[in-house]
Structures are given as structure tokens and as C-alpha cells.
């Protein structure tokens, strides 16, 4: 699944990226990262020393998510890296606790989704009231 998002070598990618996407992820396609919702929020939780030794792409992600929440999709947009690549990098950074991933409200949140995957009525009511007040 994740290779659909360009973690594989691709001639077109050379025009867009300084490095081929698969090189950025170390050639890996993480199984866990494929399930990371694109709207999941990321929050950096690192000390500045953590930046040492990180790839420029990971540094950029941590910097973008410092002091503000950024969704996986936003990180992809701001880094100009494909969604699949950002999913792998974010998953890597979360594994070493350099960032936190928040999935509240997404399909991975059992408190807002029922057993069939539908959103809870109370959350929908809050969303409805919120949109109506815009």
C-alpha cells in the first residue's frame, strides 16, 4: 500500500525531490506508518540535542511541529515530501519519542468511533454546532 505513495523509486520523483523518496526513508516501507491517518496531529517533544544526527527531512518535521500541532498532511505539504514518506518519518520519530502523535477523533480513536467505524453522535453534534456557528 505504502508504495503507492511514492516510497519506491520513480523517474518523475527525480524532477521534484532532491533525493529520491525511498532514500529519505532509508528504503523502508513501515507497516505501522501506512495506518497513520493523514489528519493525525503531530507535536514535537524533543530537546534541541535531538536534532543532532537527524536527516534534514526529520529535522524539518520536528521544527514544523514545534510549538504547534501539525497534521501529517500539513507536514507533507510544507516539506513537499509525499504523504507516504512523511508517514514513515513521523512513525520513526515517534518511536524514539522525538514527537507525539495524536489520533483523537480519527478512525484510530475508539472513544469517538463505534465498533463499525462510525463516528459517535456526541462528536458529530459538536461538529454540527461548530460549523453552524462559523
Amino acid at each position: 500500500m505504502a508504495d503507492l505513495y511514492g516510497t519506491q523509486a520513480d523517474d518523475d520523483a527525480e524532477d521534484t525531490y532532491a533525493v529520491r523518496p525511498y532514500a529519505v526513508t532509508g528504503g523502508r516501507v513501515s507497516a505501522a506508518s501506512a495506518d497513520l491517518p493523514m489528519e493525525a496531529l503531530v507535536e514535537a517533544s524533543f530537546s534541541s540535542e535531538a536534532l543532532r544526527g537527524l536527516t534534514p527531512e526529520k529535522k524539518k518535521i520536528l521544527q514544523l511541529a514545534t510549538g504547534q500541532y501539525q497534521s501529517v498532511a500539513e507536514l507533507s505539504a510544507h516539506t513537499r515530501l509525499p504523504l507516504g514518506v512523511v508517514r514513515v518519518l513521523v512513525t520513526d520519530l515517534a518511536e524514539v519519542n522525538y514527537l507525539r502523535i495524536h489520533t483523537g477523533g480519527t478512525a484510530q480513536d475508539a472513544s469517538t468511533h463505534d465498533e463499525s467505524g462510525g463516528l459517535s453522535l456526541s462528536l458529530l453534534e459538536s461538529v454540527l454546532d461548530g460549523i453552524a456557528a462559523l
Binding site: P37, E43, S45, Y69, A73, A107, A133, L134
Partner: protein
Amino acid sequence: MASQPSDAPVATATPPVHVAPTVVKIVIAGGFAVGKTTFIGSISDIDPLNTEAAMTEHSVGVDDAGGVTDRKTTTTVAMDFGRIALPGSLWLYLFGTPGQDRFLFMWDDLVRGAIGAVVLVDTERLDQCFPAVDYFEGRGIPFVVGVNCFDGVAKHQLEDVREALGLGPETPLMYTDAREKSATKQALIAVVQLAMKRIKDR
């Protein structure tokens, strides 16, 4: 944020003082150049952003923008999206689907966990929204259909559109104007209401 111990395991770390927003999403679908990005931009807190999915062989040699070059000359293998902060620490993301049928394989990822979808329709090119309607119907995802009135002119009766699209009476159908925040708002409200009705009717 800096005070959080960075070496503590995520699952057992002291809860942050602030709580991350709850994120929900609505998918904005429809044919090529039908106004999805305009729709998102009319209500988003941020200028619509663009996330790329690097296409490989899926995108080679099948481009078909037939007859619409007067409105939009290029398309990307990308999704435009926007974000709206709602009261109660809720963030609503609006994700536009990639504009052409050949990217349907990406939609499963897009719709996972979504409240539902708005299908935008241009009555001049009605057939372009068939894949979206089929997709959401087939998966039981709540969706509403918005007939985008380019230049503010409604050229077709809603009931004619309903018949042409083969929509059942349960699918909300409305005129919309992708440029107008108030119209966008009404379409989004209709999706959420439909999702709520589905739950209540169960």
C-alpha cells in the same frame, strides 16, 4: 511543551498540560476542475494546502482533461486540503479528492474515519461525478451532492439532476456556490446531519 520528558515512553508519559485538538474530516469529491479547491478555500482557516502523493506508473499516459481546458489547464496528482478550528478544541479538515478517476485507489485512505463527503457537480459535465457517487454509495459513506452554480447561475432543476445521477430520495441534493462561505457551510452542515441521521436510524 519543552518541559515534557522526551525520553519517556509515549503511552505512559505525563499527560501534557494542553490537550491536542480532536480531528475530524470531510471529503470533498467531484470531477476535474469542478471547484473543490475553491470550495475548501471559501471556509478554511488556512490557505488550501497541497499534499503530493508521488505517482508512479498509475499516472502515465492516461491523462484526460477533455474539453475543460478553458477552466483549468493543469492538474496535479495531489490533494488539496484545508482546516477549520471549531469551538471545543475540534479541528475539521476538508480533503479534496484527486481530480480524476485514475486516482480512485487513493480514496480508501482519504475516507477512512471521515464524517462523510460532499460531491460537487458541474451540470455541464455531469458524468464526471459518477465515480464519486458510485464510490460513496458502494461503501455506505454519507454524502450530499452540491450542484455548483458557476457564475451564480443554476442551469438545471435539482430534480433533473437527481434523476440523471440516479440518486435516491435519501441523498441530500442542493445548489451550492463554491466561492461562497455561507453556501459551503450549508453543504457541510448537510453532511454532518446526514451522518447523524444514519446513526439515529440504526
